[in-house]
Amino acid sequence: MSFDLLSSGLSILAQVENPPTTAPAVVPVVNPADTAWMLVSTALVLFMTPALAFFYGGLARSKNMLNTMMMSFIAMGFVGVAWALVGYSLAFSDGNKFIGGLSWAFLQTIGTDPKVGTTIPHVLFMAYQATFAIITAALISGAIIERMRFGAYVAFITLWSIVVYAPVCHWVWGGGWAGAAPGIGALDFAGGTVVHINAAAAALVAAIVVGKRKDFGRQALLPHNVPLVLLGAGALWFGWFGFNGGSALASNASAATAFTNTMLAPCATMVAWTLLDLLRTGKVTGVGCGTGIVVGLVAITPAAGFLSPTSAMAVGLIAAFPSYFAIIIRAKTSLDDSLDVFAAHGLGGITGALLTGVFADETWGGAGNKGLLNGNPGQLLIQAEAIVGTLVYSLVVSFILIKIIGFLLPLKATDAQQGVGLDVVDHGEEAYSNGEGAVLILENESTSTPAASPSTIGAR
């Protein structure tokens, strides 16, 4: 979603579509077709967060199903509000190369006039970007499910969206150091660095600082509902058309390229993943299929609008390998990144961002956006700089942030609470209650009943 690319791309398109009769001094106007597509895209990307909840929830154990799903859902509330209040301004308003200012805090002056450099209303641009902040924060939860306390988690992702996500977003898309003009800046079409590498680094830090689940390495911790994992993966793919296709910020050729590549790259990843599964174990797994889809989507995200559909399939195919083997190796270590956020989103994102610098093609991605295979080896280095910058910043600041929160609040549920399951401990609900043994508490006796505080449950 490089704006510079976009504005240059748009001006080229404008010239093609409106031959010289139009005056060059362009008065920004809202384009109805662009606005229509971005309205749809915003809804599609928001839908990815519930989809992620099902993907993650199915991979958890049944006693932690609701807690795992809520960790995604809650981002729509807290991160959404934080984004409107300050996050958006820090990411996109004028500032320095590292962070934006506060001129748009509390959505001041943001109206329905077109956002500079786009043809869509500014409020819509803000809402579209809000859905990105929400899903990015929710992605982190996969690393700490089944043991991080809910309150500490909510505090972490909300503050993280302000102090980590917003600055990194500013670097790449808001006028910061990593997203300068075509041929100079890093190419990140829809958020390979901003969303996936960024969230994966935070996930890694959170998994290490919070620590592993009490049963990790002692018992098999199996997915409780693989059908829901596949439902979630399918719904993520659906929503991702808005994530990548919408990142063109217009209903144009670039959106069509990104959309098509979002269709094809995960196909190739699935094929590669399936064959790896088949060769290694002789069986093709459903969880592997779902994971392959997500890895393919992650990998094509930075590249989506910059390369040909054939190259997109190459990206999808190659991206299967690092993530596939990282997941196998990770399970044998003592790192409890429970749902392999780093292996899927971190390595998938890094592979995709690097391959963007290899396959980017001016014919598809607009003038100046070319990679190694099209005579611009320097792009690969620029991609690497953006990756390292994001990784280092996210690792360090996420670490400091979670340490501060850990100083104020306990991060991890006790062993007894983990034994009961966090659905009951944190939410006072069960995902699959059949109502047996449930006794109605009437108004007048509710005071005498021991409250559902986690401490009473933990102490039983």
């Binding site: 049963d215 002692r218 018992q219 007894a416 983990q418 034994g419 009961v420 009951v424 006072g428 609900e429 069960e430 209650s433 047996e436 043994g437 449930a438 006794v439 109605l440 508490i441 509710s446 009943t449 021991p450 409250a451 559902a452 009473t456 449950i457 102490a459 039983r460």
Partner: protein, 119 residues
């Protein structure tokens, strides 16, 4: 012969099974049950309806053993299933009149003696 019936916490099942295998106890039946053993009830709320969950998820293990295996079996369950909090469960040791192994029609002690698995 005795039938040992143990009610334990669901999250202790793996520990108990491991401990039983270590004590060379073979032949276990496991079922999911719901029960109440005096522990604090979980209070849950659904759409404004607050309920006390008087029944908790538990696991019931049943093991038929010959007499000299009773003590090792009980000890391994006791050590593996304990958390020290109310709700850890119970072990019942029940006399058994007779036992048959269906495959061979062996009776009583022969029926509960594990068969060496041919390699």
């Amino acid at each position: 012969m005795k039938l040992i019936v143990a009610i334990i916490r669901p999250d202790k099942l793996n520990d108990v099974l491991k401990s039983l295998y270590k004590a060379e106890v073979r032949g276990v039946s496991v079922s999911h049950v719901r029960g109440h053993g005096g522990e604090t009830e979980n209070v849950e709320t659904y759409r404004g309806t607050t309920v006390k969950m008087e029944l908790q998820e538990k696991i019931r293990i049943e093991i038929g053993v010959s007499d000299h295996f009773v003590d090792p079996t009980v000890q391994s369950i006791l050590s593996a299933a304990k958390t020290g909090e109310v709700g850890d469960g119970k072990i019942f040791v029940i006399p058994v009149e007779s036992v048959y192994r269906i495959r061979t029609s062996e009776k009583d002690t022969a029926a509960v003696t594990p068969v060496a698995v041919k390699a």
